[in-house]
């Protein structure tokens, strides 16, 4: 699988992301935000960090980088795009995903391990992972409080576009398990065609031996098995 990871000024998880995909033998390369050549990828990743320092709003200035126009076009043609943390914010700002990541309800930057529950297995991102599977994945953000209007929320739920919810370690979804105030404990959503995913948790920070959790590996393995199955 060919993976292109976009680097904006202020992106800081791009090399970690490359490293994770490389573990699986993928051909993962960096693409600078001023470039227009996506390098013919199977998957584009907006990695975590603080593109443009999160000035104005997270992702608000990044969306004007030349590469983003190319990514939007790529996604419109059915290309797969993954946004992790700040990458999720960029996806909402540039219109590839609906909603907004607002400031956390407790106003704090939260950097800790959290549990998320896999909601639907019928997406490239959760391919082969049973619904209800609980993963231990770290979060690290101040603006992760997912907000959308009532009609938009209904649309996401009705079409099985909420792929991950914050839960406790047993998979119970409740207010105590919600770190940031996100509506319906939403941690990650996908596009209508399921090929664009945005999630606040950092699976790439739970995919190396020796770290507290390796549960992020399951998501990267899901992608591998999706690509293997789809030829």
């Amino acid at each position: 699988m060919k993976v292109s990871v976009i680097t904006f000024p202020g992106t800081n998880c791009d090399h970690d992301t490359i490293e994770v995909f490389s573990q699986f033998g993928d051909d993962a390369t960096l693409v600078w935000h001023q470039d227009r050549d996506l390098k013919n990828p199977d998957l584009v990743v907006f990695a975590g960090g603080s593109a443009y320092g999160d000035y104005l709003r997270g992702g608000a200035l990044a969306k004007y980088s030349p590469v983003v126009a190319e990514v939007i076009e790529y996604a419109r043609k059915g290309g797969m795009v993954l946004g992790l943390c700040n990458g999720f914010q960029i996806l909402t700002e540039c219109g590839l995903l609906p909603g907004t990541l607002m400031i956390n309800i407790g106003l704090d930057f939260i950097c800790e391990h959290r549990h998320i529950r896999v909601e639907h297995p019928n997406s490239p991102w959760t391919h082969g992972i049973a619904a209800g599977t609980v993963l231990d994945i770290p979060i690290a953000h101040k603006e992760g409080n997912f907000h959308i209007d009532a009609a938009g929320l209904q649309e996401l739920e009705d079409n099985e576009r909420v792929l991950f919810r914050y839960s406790d370690e047993f998979g119970n979804v409740n207010t105590d398990a919600n770190p940031n105030g996100s509506l319906n404990n939403i941690a990650g959503i996908c596009s209508a065609n399921k090929r664009v995913l945005g999630m606040m948790p950092h699976p790439e920070r739970a995919a190396f031996p020796g770290l507290k959790s390796q549960d992020g590996t399951q998501l990267f393995k899901a992608l591998q098995s999706y690509f293997a199955a789809s030829g």
């Binding site: 104005l56 709003r57 608000a60 200035l61 004007y64 909402t92 700002e93 609906p98 909603g99 907004t100 607002m102 400031i103 956390n104 309800i105 407790g106 106003l107 409080n145 907000h147 959308i148 209007d149 105030g181």
Partner: protein, 83 residues
């Protein structure tokens, strides 16, 4: 020259956690009649031109596409000639 002052604030329907924290602190400090606080942004833009209509058109576009997030924010602006 023209100065545009853009005011961006959260829509009334959107919860403002910063405003809530400030409300609660002001009440704690004895400002008993404070009912609610909403936090927004002021963005001042200087223009090297004197056509208010042209500036207004540009500012409207800037607000709609970049300065405010239409999902959660409303905006307004003042445009004034400055020396």
């Amino acid at each position: 020259m023209i100065k545009a002052s853009v005011f961006v604030k959260l829509k009334p329907s959107v919860l403002d956690p910063q405003g809530k924290a400030i409300t609660s602190k002001l009440t704690e400090l004895g400002y008993d009649s404070v009912m609610d606080v909403r936090v927004g942004k002021v963005i001042e833009i200087q223009f090297d031109e004197s056509d208010k209509a042209s500036v207004s058109e540009q500012v409207e576009k800037m607000c709609a596409t970049m300065l405010a997030n239409p999902n959660i924010e409303d905006y307004s602006y003042n445009i004034e000639i400055v020396e």
